[in-house]
Subunit: 110 residues, 2 copies
Amino acid sequence: MYQDRKRHLEARARVLKAMSHPTRLFIIEELDKEERCVCDLTGMVGADVSTISKHLSVLRQAGIVAADKRGNQVFYRLRVPCILNFFGCVESVLESQFQEQAAFLENVGA
Amino acid sequence: MYQDRKRHLEARARVLKAMSHPTRLFIIEELDKEERCVCDLTGMVGADVSTISKHLSVLRQAGIVAADKRGNQVFYRLRVPCILNFFGCVESVLESQFQEQAAFLENVGA
DNA sequence: TGGCTTTTTGGCTATATTGCCAAATAGCAT
DNA sequence: ATGCTATTTGGCAATATAGCCAAAAAGCCA
């Protein structure tokens, strides 16, 4: 049952895991607008350059972004823009969480 | 730039993180077909009951699944089926990874 | 109540992730 | 070559995650 699909599910999980960090989600959003060098993103996020570089490395290894070296800068771009389409669904999860919490609070009050 | 969106991105990341495990992806797929009790899923995955229970707890806390206790069994169901729509995109990431690897191997050969 | 099943929780160890600093690497310009 | 900038890598400490076993909790049935 599970063992048959395990390898495939592990591959999927790796992609999702690479996206599962607020800074990396921010980077994905920015790269959807336009390509950016590491220094751009570092400035926007406000973390150490090495931290941003490692986040980008995670995204690159997952196949989500691609790097393009020009001069002494490295520009990153989104390799698979459909990633963004998913967030509507994630939002609906967040919405359902919110509703559940509201219902819970209502029960407590009653 | 980033600080403004941080809280929101953290919430999104929590949902993605909850999905970022092969066993939990399997559970999501199964629950999309029909609701299942913990014992069903335990049998299919082949892990300890406590392990499955904890995975379900992660999914529940993320708002992805809902629990329904009937008798001494607890049935879980998918709360937000659109989750599944995303996998087409994840697959395209995997496909692009595969293509990159093929290109790399070609370069090595040449 | 006592025994049975199902599920959750606590505790533990092993492993992975994060983010910083410091150092190495790479490219450009003087 | 030297200096300057941009990026990556190594190393480290703090924190989080995964999965097992054992034990607790909750519900059924006799």
